[in-house]
Structures are given as C-alpha cells and as structure tokens.
Symmetry: C2
Subunit: 319 residues, 2 copies
C-alpha cells in the first residue's frame, strides 16, 4: 500500500501533504507563501516539507502530484505563468522528479480542483462537472466523460474570460471586454465595495459598519455580508455581479450541460448565499426548451479541492 | 466482415445507406421528406429502404445507426422533438430494433455530424472538436477526449442558444434573448436578405439582380454572394451576423479550447467565404494571453457528416 505526496502551490499559501492510496490525508503541512522569496524560496520549501513527510511515512512514497496556482502547459509539464516572475516556462515536474526521485505530474489549480472534487468531493458519481474557482480571479476545470478535458493549448475552462459585454476598460486578459472576471471576481467585488464605501458613504452605512468605519478596508466579504443583510446599495452591486456570473454559467450549461457546477475558492467560501443568489439569477434563462437541471453546489473539500486533485494526479501515476 | 446500416432523417430529405465495417459507403438511397406524410410515412420509407439495402448486402448486416434531425434523449434512445408532430417521445431505436431485428442506436444530427467528421472526416487525429451545423438553425456536437460529450440531459452543444445579447424579440428558444441562432442562422440571414431587398431596394441592386429582381426570393445564399462581391449593405449585414457567430465561437473556445471547429450544414456549404470571414472576425478577441490556435474548417464529408456519424454509431455496437 504505497503512499503519495501532494502539493498545492498558491500565491498566498501552500500545502504539502502525505496521502494514502485511497486518497486519505495522513499528514499535511500548510505554510504562508513568502512572495519576496520568489521561485527559489518556494522550491526550497516544497523540497524540505516533502522530504520531512517522506521520512514520516510508514509506507514507501511512490509519486507526487502538484496543483499550481497559475497557467500550466500540461502536455509539456511546464508552468507557463507570465504574471509571476521566475516561474515562466519552468519545468516544475522535471525539477521535482530530479529532487525527490519520484514520478511527478503538475496541473493548474482549477483543473486540480475539478479532479479533487470529482474523485473525492461533491463530484463523486458524476460523469461531467465544471469546478469553478471563484477567488481574486475566476477560473475553471472541466470533467467530461469522467476525465479532465484540458483542451488543445491546456486552455480549456477559461470561464473567467468569456466576453460577456463590450467595455470601456481593459480586462486583465488584455482585451477591451467585460469578461466574467472583470464583472464578478473577488477583485471586482473588492473594487465595488471600496468604491461604494469611499464615494457613496451615505448609501454605505451597513458596509462601513462591517469594516469598522474604514472605507479602505471594504472588501468583497463585507459587501456580500451587507447585501445578505439587505442593504440596498450593496445588494444592487452584488446582484449585478451575480447576474454576470449566472450569464457565464448559462454559456457553460448550454455548451457543456454538466451534471454539476461546483464552486470553490475564496469567494465561494463565503457560503450558501452565493449559491442561492446564483440559482435565483439563473432563472432568467430558464425556458421549456431549456429546463436547466444542472446542479449548482459548493465544493465539499473547501479550500483543499486542489490539494486532493494533486493527490488524484499522483494516484493516476501509481495506477 | 459484417456490414451495417446508417440512416439520416431530416426535415427536407433523408438517406439510408449500407456501409462496410471500415466506414465506406457501399450503397446509399436519398429521398425527399414528404412533410405531410408525418411520422408513419417516414418510418415506412426507412423500413422499406433498409430492407432493400439489406437484401443487396453480400455480407450479414449487424447493426443500424440513426441520425435524427431534432432533439434526441440519448440515454433513453427516444426522439424528444417538441416541434415535429408525431415524433414526440417516440422510441425510434426500439422501433427499428423490432422492425429490422437489428441492434440500433440513435442520436441527433449535430452529435452524429461530430462523430462522422471525427471518425471519417476533418476531425481525424484530433482529441477534441466542435462540429457546428449551420443551417436554418444552429446546433453543435462536441467531442472531448475522443468521445462524444452529450451532457446531463443530452443537451450539450447548444451553441445556437448562447444568449449573446439582450433583445426585444423572442428567440425560438422562448427567451427574450439575442441568441446565436437569432443573429446568425440561415433563417436570420434569410430575414436580413428579404428585409434589405424589400425595404431598401436602393441599397440592394446586386442582391436584387442575384434573385432575378424578385425581393421575395432573396435568401441567405444571395445575401452572402452579394456580400462576397463587395456590395456594401449586404456586406454590413453579413458582417454583423459573422461577428455574432465569432463571439459564440469565442465562448466555445474559451471554455472547451478544442483542436478544431468544423462547419457543416446548408450555410457552411456556401464555402470558404464563411470560414475566411469568421477567421477574420475572431481576431477581435485575440490577445497575448489567448492566442487561439483552434483551427476553423469546413466539414470534409459535406452534407453526409451525419450519415457517416450514424454509421459510426452502428460500428460502436458491432465493436
């Protein structure tokens, strides 16, 4: 009964874990990412924590799976991040294989999250699902016919960059489009919250209260809480973001018609209010011809979906 | 070396064919669909033509595959057409199995077209593709990881009903949305052509010439030909339809990132001008982050993609 290693490498924190071959966590280390340390610091941490867990393992460790919080070329097993200095075109699998002398497979966090929920979470028993990571940005991983569908350029699942509207401002993708991410991500909600608190304090009483009177501290979290409590201005902003997100889901449902859409990531962890609001917004596009029975659910593995997915990647190697 | 039967049942014509087990057509019958004859007439034709081909076959016939030009519940193997009287909830596979004493599998024409091009046409060698049937309406079939992805309710691939815009008029799907089909289908192009010819004859000289001076005879075909020849008003209308279609493709590319998108159906048979115009329109959504290498191509099997797909369905039965 061999064990396996799983790593979840993110911009704010990272995890290295030892799993048994049934997908149960035996031991897990969680650390904060030292941004100033760059790639070398992170690689050092990963190696050190992996070696410590391996020494701890009562069974031989046979493989390693990695979830990386940025774009990954799966076929070439390279990080292709153009945003994070040092990681660009880095052969992460190859490096881990050389350091740990273990076969390794790496994928991006959205795909890993999809795989984690599919094998061990809310997606068990489905044939197809979309796992959406709703955090600072918005990404997704897609399972079809029981397998990850990565696409021609490892670019499938870019639900955050569906051009839902024309726009006067530039999206992070470089286009003058109102992409899902520009309209409904954690970053977009943060901006809405701060704008409301700073420029419309007369409409932001509840929001300001929730952030201790400091408009600079208003974030998505406080905006959603103010909306949940019925504050009109916050509710209207939240509703417009939710409508955009629902429209993106409708595009995905019309094209892919998955069994389930599963929400993970930081915004999703604010809970059922997000799902309930989305379900309600989706009704705008219901018709007799499109009854839309796709289930919308929260991730069962919380913020560990990508870590479990990394374990699933390793288990694909050990067979 | 057993042979198989394939049927392509459409609203304007139908085909019944004998294939060998390598997917080559041995013999094919093509007939016009007698709309007034309804379901019973069509079933009678299918049985009669199938029996004739079977008598002709030098090898035993082992299975039958069917492409049906309307919605099909694949899991239940029933036609679910709500538009064509008589076909609603009809167990077409079961009927054929009883009549011909052959195992049978039925799917809708968009899925069959995708399967046909994947196994025998422009999609050979790909892992994923979207086959778009661009005709009176717009539908699609999706291959992921080398297999048809049909979705939870056999409703995947509804690229014709992506709500691309708000709208003051009702789409055929029942919603007040500017769906792809309402903006860019053969039906939409027919309306544009007739409207231009009837209400703006001063701008429609070339178009009117192409339809012999009778504005009532202006269709998509003449509109596209006038646009191809550089007629300004026709070109502007065609360009707006193409932009909508390109936007729908971008949604599909962002989500699915297929190796290829393959165009079949009546409008596609107007040729390379459609593909060239689409390629050009797609550039609006190119960026460094999204280089979009998905290939856009015409179906290689012409109007026989669904028939070949029906053969592929039968070959899945015989293994």
């Amino acid at each position: 009964m061999p064990n396996i290693l799983a790593m979840d490498v993110g911009g704010t924190h990272f995890r290295v874990a030892l799993f048994d071959d049934s997908g149960k966590i035996i031991s897990v280390y969680r650390g904060e990412t030292l941004r100033s340390g760059g790639r070398e610091w992170m690689l050092g941490e990963l190696r050190q924590r992996a070696e410590a867990l391996r020494r701890e393992s009562s069974e031989p460790v046979m493989a390693c799976g990695v979830s990386f919080g940025g774009p990954v070329d799966f076929k070439r097993q390279r990080v292709t991040s153009v945003h994070t200095p040092g990681w660009e075109n880095f052969p992460l699998s190859e490096w881990i294989e050389a350091q740990l002398v273990l076969p390794c497979r790496v994928d991006n966090d959205a795909n890993a999250g999809a795989l984690g929920e599919f094998r061990f979470g809310a997606g068990r028993g489905t044939e197809s699902l979309i796992y959406i990571t709703h955090s600072t940005g918005i990404g997704s991983g897609i399972i079809c016919n029981g397998r990850l569908h990565r696409g021609r350029d490892s670019m499938a699942g870019e639900i955050g960059h569906l051009p839902l509207k024309e726009s006067d401002s530039r999206c992070t993708c470089g286009l003058m489009t109102g992409c899902t991410e520009a309209l409904a991500s954690g970053r977009a909600l943060d901006h809405m919250a701060r704008d409301l608190a700073e420029h419309h304090p007369d409409q932001a009483a509840r929001l300001l209260e929730l952030c201790g009177g400091d408009p600079g501290k208003a974030t998505a979290r406080e905006l959603i809480e103010a909306a949940r409590q019925g504050d009109a201005a916050a509710a209207a902003l939240f509703a417009s973001a939710i409508r955009s997100l629902a429209l993106a889901l409708i595009m995905a449902i019309r094209l892919i018609d998955p069994d389930k859409i599963i929400f993970g990531g930081g915004v999703a962890q604010l809970g059922d209010f997000l799902i309930d609001s989305l379900q309600n917004a989706l009704k705008e596009w219901w018709s007799d011809q499109f009854p839309n029975t796709t289930e919308i659910a929260l991730a069962e593995l919380g913020d560990k979906s990508p870590l479990y997915g990394a374990a699933a990647l390793a288990l694909q190697i050990t067979g």
